[in-house]
């Protein structure tokens, strides 16, 4: 049955002309009325004499493929060709299953973000703007059904088809829970007919997309939201009356039995996503970010299957050294190494499939795939990654992914092995219908032809030497200037007889026979314009010449051009730089290991009752301090001469914001559900910089955008390890609170978030803990009830936010609270008294000196700045004597940085208390070593030089409180992570490696490769949003515009 359809004129034209009499098979649905005469067809085709690659394992030579009504009927070497089949001779051709892309948004538009009118300083949006019985959060929309959004889009389908794709899994790429994906073919047919599977997958990401809701505003908030939604869905199964109908949660539950695909898009995010999955018994298929080769072991440990893009970065234009300066070595190295990513997966035996997603220009797909081959990817693996692997992942291998009877007739016809450089895809058949890719390549027209041109005046003979589809020469007496084009069917040929423009009477031997058509045009060039059609070995056509004579012509194939064997030069795998850990100039080729170390003859600041010991040795083994004394001998130990130098415990920064991907989840006033530990960033160069300043442990705090912030993470600065490796094992959990100007959003002129005053801040705290108490009771009651025989089960919604607060009530989690003025300090102490817990640490605490007695009575530690003040109203009374007074009153006092730069000089910050108030030097040093260890409950492990403690040590060139002191060696767990001599070597390496890559990028530009303008490698410096930071030219202070808090 034919349906009235619109086709591009080119296609109609082609239909008339096509030689292989492949019919235009218009599929139709039974239910759709026909306007015209029915035209039912079976569309049966037999492709004979082909090399058929059924799948990665099986290749059949000289085989036949038979398809009917869009399905494969049979494939084999002795298949019976049905009588009603149109036979297509595929001699010399290859047939492959067409490719499958399971990370597509083909036919599904991405919702538009409303850019206009969006303002970070605009009031917060607390609830979803989506109308209907959906989830509270606008970015959680598992109810989105790709099959309902999908619309055939031939303009988008064509480039995919041209690259060999026949089937895609497409979904709406927006939101955190994105709903379900639909498998469709790329046929240009009514949607009803191209859908292969309506709900094939459920999709997730770490980006809230176009959601205008404030929460979540951070990566850790996204992770918390996903975790909470898993719990909510579990709870929703009990049909809680209070929730009513929640279409989103129901969809979430329903989607769980589908393959779960997570767009993580970065090596660390891959791992973060996988951890969420592990917690809830889900193994995600992970869409990677192309940098996984930088941490391939960790990636392998996820046990996930990956979807990899071939979007490799372009070379940058680094000719101007002032531009090149700001392109980081890491970015240059990534440019060089990104094409090794698929090979790294293959080598590590991690299953993966490939996607065309993220490519700016689909034409790069094959080119980049070949780059991946050059860098070690095998063709077999790539083939599987484009066919069987993706089909199997989304459970459609029974329908697509190989050439087997019963499957959809999706296949490619190529002229040679699919991945060879010169191979062209001729046709892409989808659901039994042919789509041209490069039709003109079907017949090899290379060879010589006898060309006969006839006119009323007679005929003349030439030889036509066809070299390619667009190059040929007409040879008469001489070779003539010729233009030629063959598009698979139509031939265009023009040439001129090169008549020399010489004065009459001179030698005319250059003239050819065409002169006779010219009739007296002696001396003028005669040219011919011919067009025709290829009818196989004979071409027929017509044309005219300059004189206006009407011509016809025939070209008959004479003999083929002898094929010159491809000189198959084996391509050398390009030489590339090494992967460093972290992926940075200061990274390691191999991670350092704990050593036995003997530091000889140093001044040892023990921080213990022994005090400062002169000319003392310290022995380190297995990561611990094992001996302190004089004249220690240990043959196994590496000896470091400490003569004239000072050895102290490693510096501990109680308040830091380095090494994290996000810091502030400020969208709500209570966000105790978020965890810094969910988004550690081991690549942060500030880890290394701070090691150079003697820091060995840092307490990474949530920012101060809200009253109850997130859970903090204590780390050790083990430069080069992964995120989990950074964590200080066995340490108590902490949480960040904040009071005062930041949480009441003083700098915002239109705050709509409660609280707006310190009165409200106190009430946020009281309310939160009241809810926590009620929650804990409800949980306990439910537990007791559910244990009773025959009782109706009570299900209490687990709430990650309240879980953390209950931990505080039960003294399993401890508070470090950003605070400045005395009223807010006192009021928090009173809230804590009321709920029977203790505020472990007041941080910043610049008016701590005013209420030091109250803090002492409550039992809090204080962690403060040495001499900060006057950067806002609430620090007008801050004084540099604060630490000294608090210490004299008897508080455990720490000096912290809250600043990535100042953290490198914390010893000097501590020394300022010698200047302001005359603190004893050993006490001053303790403020950045032992005291923070106490405040963090890890003084049994770190903070002093004592036998049995972790060997976290710094060898200083000078008195450790002096501005002239530099760390010579910084040791964490008996491992040397910073050494001033190694640092020198790293600097040289960076210069050398940068230069090599700059040259290589310039080479790429010179050889005509695509380059883009140099892109400064902006470094994001995260901070709590409390004050200004002093960063470099290309740093972005994430608190500047308070992006995360929607301020």
């Amino acid at each position: 049955m034919g349906i009235l359809r619109m086709h591009p004129p080119g296609k109609l034209f082609f239909l008339v002309m096509v030689l292989l009499s492949i019919s235009f098979y218009t599929k139709s649905q039974t239910t759709f009325p026909v306007n015209g005469v029915a035209d039912p067809r079976t569309a049966t085709f037999a492709f004979t004499n082909a090399t058929i690659v059924k799948d990665g394992q099986t290749t059949l030579q000289n085989a036949t493929l038979i398809i009917r009504e869009g399905k494969i009927i049979s494939v084999g070497t002795n298949a019976q060709v049905p009588k009603d089949a149109v036979v297509v001779d595929c001699s010399g051709k290859y047939i492959y299953p067409s490719f499958i892309d399971i990370y597509s948004d083909y036919g599904i538009a991405i919702p538009e973000r409303q850019r206009n009118g969006f303002d970070f300083r605009a009031p917060a949006q607390f609830n979803s703007n989506t109308k209907g019985a959906f989830n509270w959060n606008q970015a959680i929309k598992p109810e989105v059904d790709g099959s309902k959004l999908f619309a055939t889009d031939d303009a988008k389908a064509k480039p995919l088809r041209d690259n060999g794709f026949g089937t895609v899994l497409t979904h709406e790429k927006d939101g955190i829970a994105r709903g379900t994906g639909v498998v469709v073919t790329l046929a240009n047919e009514k949607e009803n007919l191209v859908i292969v599977k309506e709900k094939a997958s459920a999709h997730y990401s770490l980006s809230k997309g176009v959601s205008s809701q404030s929460y979540p505003s951070s990566l850790m908030g996204v992770i918390a939201l996903l975790r909470q939604t898993y719990l909510d869905a579990q709870w929703y199964k009990s049909k809680p009356a209070k929730e009513g109908t929640n279409i989103s949660l129901q969809a979430w539950i329903d989607n769980q039995n589908l393959p779960q695909i997570f767009d993580a898009n970065d090596k660390w995010n891959d791992i973060r996503a996988d951890r969420i999955g592990d917690e809830f018994g889900v193994q995600y298929i992970i869409k990677g970010g192309g940098n996984e080769y930088q941490r391939i072991n960790e990636i392998a440990a996820t046990k996930a299957t990956y979807i990899l893009s071939l979007n490799f970065p372009q070379a940058q234009d680094v000719e101007d050294p002032n531009d090149a300066r700001f392109v980081s070595l890491a970015d240059m190295k990534h440019w060089e190494l990104a094409p090794t990513n698929p090979a790294a997966f293959e080598k590590a035996n991690i299953p993966f499939c490939l996607t065309s997603a993220d490519l700016k220009d689909l034409k790069q797909f094959m080119a980049n795939l070949r780059k991946a081959f050059d860098n070690g990817l095998s063709e077999e693996k790539a083939f599987d990654a484009l066919t069987k692997t993706p089909a199997t992942l989304i459970n459609v291998y029974d329908k697509v992914g190989s050439i087997d009877a019963g499957k959809i007739a999706n296949f490619l016809i190529t002229k040679g092995p699919i991945f060879k450089e010169k191979t062209v895809i001729l046709q892409n058949w989808i659901q039994g219908e042919k789509y041209d890719v490069k039709e003109e390549g079907w017949n090899d027209i290379k060879g010589t032809y006898n060309l006969v041109i006839s006119s009323a005046n007679g005929s003349s003979n030439y030889t036509l030497d066809v070299k390619s589809d667009n190059s040929a020469s007409v040879i008469g007496k001489d070779t003539l200037t010729t233009k030629f084009n063959y598009d698979g069917k139509i031939i265009k040929l023009s040439f001129s007889s090169a008549i020399a423009k010489k004065p009459a009477g001179t030698d005319s031997s250059a003239q050819n026979k065409s002169g006779k058509f010219g009739g007296g045009m002696r001396g003028a060039a005669a040219s011919y314009r011919l067009s025709g059609v290829s009818n196989g070995n004979v071409w027929n056509g017509n044309g005219d010449d300059t004189a206006g004579n009407i011509l016809t012509w025939t070209a008959t194939f004479a003999k083929a051009t002898p094929i010159i064997a491809d000189s198959t030069k084996k391509k050398m795998t390009p030489k590339v730089g090494k992967v460093l850990y972290p992926f940075d100039g200061y990274g390691w080729e191999e991670l350092p290991k704990p050593e036995n170390i003997l530091i000889k003859n140093a001044t040892v600041w023990t921080n213990e009752k022994e005090g400062k010991l002169d000319n003392t040795d310290v022995l380190v083994k297995n990561g611990k301090i094992v001996q302190i004394g004089k004249n220690i001998v240990d043959a196994s130990a590496k000896v470091i001469d400490g003569t004239g130098k000072h050895l102290t415990a490693g510096i501990i920064d109680e308040h830091s914001h380095i090494a994290a991907a996000s810091i502030n989840e400020g969208a709500q006033s209570v966000t105790s559900e978020v965890r810094i530990g969910d988004n550690l960033n081991p690549d942060d160069i500030n880890i290394y910089r701070q090691l150079s300043g003697g820091v060995t442990s840092s307490h990474i705090l949530h920012g101060s955008a809200n009253t109850i912030g997130g859970q903090t993470q204590l780390i050790k600065l083990r430069w080069g390890v992964d995120d989990d490796g950074l964590k200080f094992k066995g340490a108590d959990g902490f949480i960040k609170f904040a009071l005062g100007e930041n949480v009441k959003r003083t700098t915002s002129s239109n705050n709509n978030r409660f609280p707006d005053t310190r009165m409200g801040v106190e009430e946020v705290l009281t309310d939160a803990f009241t809810r926590a108490v009620d929650y804990e009771n409800a949980m306990k009651n439910a537990d007791a009830n559910n244990k009773k025989k025959g009782a109706t089960q009570t299900v209490v919604r687990r709430d990650l936010e309240l879980d953390a607060l209950v931990e505080i009530l039960n003294k399993k989690r401890f508070i470090t609270c950003h605070s400045y003025v005395q009223s807010e300090i006192t009021s928090l102490i009173r809230v804590a008294d009321k709920f029977n817990f203790r505020v472990n640490t007041f941080t910043h605490i610049l008016e701590g000196y005013k209420v030091a007695d109250k803090m002492k009575a409550h039992g809090s530690s204080a962690s403060t700045f040495s001499d900060w003040w006057a950067y806002k109203m609430e620090v007008q009374d801050a004084i540099a004597y604060n630490a000294t007074i608090m210490q004299k009153v008897g508080l455990n006092v720490c000096i912290n940085s809250d600043d990535a730069e100042q953290a490198r000089r914390l010893n000097q910050e501590a020394a300022k208390s010698v200047k302001y108030g005359g603190m004893a030097e050993e006490d001053a040093l303790k403020m950045v070593t032992l005291n923070p260890a106490k405040a963090l409950h890890v003084d049994d492990k770190v903070g002093s030089i004592k036998v049995g403690k972790d060997a976290d040590l710094v060898l200083w060139s000078d008195h450790p409180l002096s501005i002239y002191a530099k760390s010579l060696t910084t040791i964490v767990d008996g491992t040397i992570y910073y050494d001033i001599q190694k640092d020198e070597a790293a600097r040289k390496y960076i210069v050398h490696e940068r230069n090599r890559l700059v040259q290589k990028m310039m080479g790429e530009k010179k050889s005509g490769g695509a380059t883009m303008p140099a892109q400064p490698s902006f470094q994001v410096i995260l901070s709590c949003g409390d004050h200004e930071h002093h960063d470099g030219l290309i740093t972005i202070d994430a608190s500047d515009e308070d992006v995360n808090t929607n301020k």
Partner: protein, 436 residues
Amino acid sequence: MKKLFFLITSLLFLITANAQDDVYPAKDYKGVLFIINGTIHVGNGQVIENGTIKIENGKIVAVGQNISATQDAKVVDSKGKQIYPGLILPVTDLGLKEIANGVRGSNDYEEIGDLNPSIRSIVAYNTDSKIIGTLRASGILLASVTPQGGTISGSSSVVQLDAWNYEDAAYKLDGAIHVNLPTFIARPNRFAFFLGLPQDHVDPTKQALEKIAEIKSFFRQAKAYLQEPTHKETNLKFEAVKGLFDKKQKLFVHGDQVKQMLIAIDFVKEFGFDVVMVGASESFQIADLLKQNNIAVILQEEHALPATEDDDVDQPYKTPYQLQKAGVLFALNDQHDETRYRNLMFNAGTAAAYGLTKEQALQSITLNSAKILGIDDRTGSLEVGKDANIVISDGDILDMRTSIISAAFIQGRQVSLENKQTQLYERYMKKYGLMK
């Protein structure tokens, strides 16, 4: 009557309470003063052990080892102490910005408009700023108060930090005109950056060059205007830059990037200005060119992170050494907003830890700064004929361990080291019974 008296006293009390300051500017001292037995760091590299400084009528009249104090004179014994020239903050918003964030009313450092050469910082300088006292207590005795914002921000004036009002404070008026050069680095739109949206592509070089052409055009027209003595219509902006052309003023060009500094050379070549680069964090890359073109440098921020992750981790710390080596005249600054500029000497200390000698480091916050600000005829070093702007420290002033200031003199007056912070310290030490 009694009631009225009570009312008046309480009013008076209230007024005092509001002004709060019981720290008074020192009275003029015209007599003779000897500072004896100290180690004198002259500021020009020279160190005099066990030396004496004789001061008369606010000026240094003798410096050396064999000067004996006369009986009737005031004598300050500095045995075991270190004596330095008063430190100079070369570019600052001191007295213009009281509370950095959230209290707009306390700020007067940035005016509306793009070309504001006639804006003068001195007229808004608040001598009662609480910040000032903490600087004196650290040994910082002079500051060049500088307006910000726009392309031409206005003129800065040097003040001494112990005064009743700005006219008292004025040390050198309108010595520099401040220009901010446009950036040659396209910073990403943060909104797009964090949301991963495509960036609008702008060519920063093109934009920068257009802006620079505009600045130069301003100076060309100013030059032409100033050649004609009378005008029907007076142009205050042109009038304000007159001093640049007759070298009574310097052009302080703010910028960190290499291309900005290379452009700044134009102001030397085309207009013959005395040019000082302010910021100049990348100056280590073209130190020799700066030297060749006689461009001085004020490094704004030494305690900063390296500009790129590939940079040497101590790059900002050693930049002063690299400038010193190339022979560039440079000064160090402290514009740290959270400590409010009181760590100027520790910036110098860091420079000494990373290559400079201690005396060179000292010079970069005293004599060099004075030269750059055009006040070295009066201050910056402890030399005869100069103002007695002097700081006495218990030990090395550059190291926080020992940088304990016991006395300071401005123009021979011994100034109070008390300030809001010392007073709050005493107040609460008393509360806890900790005061000896």
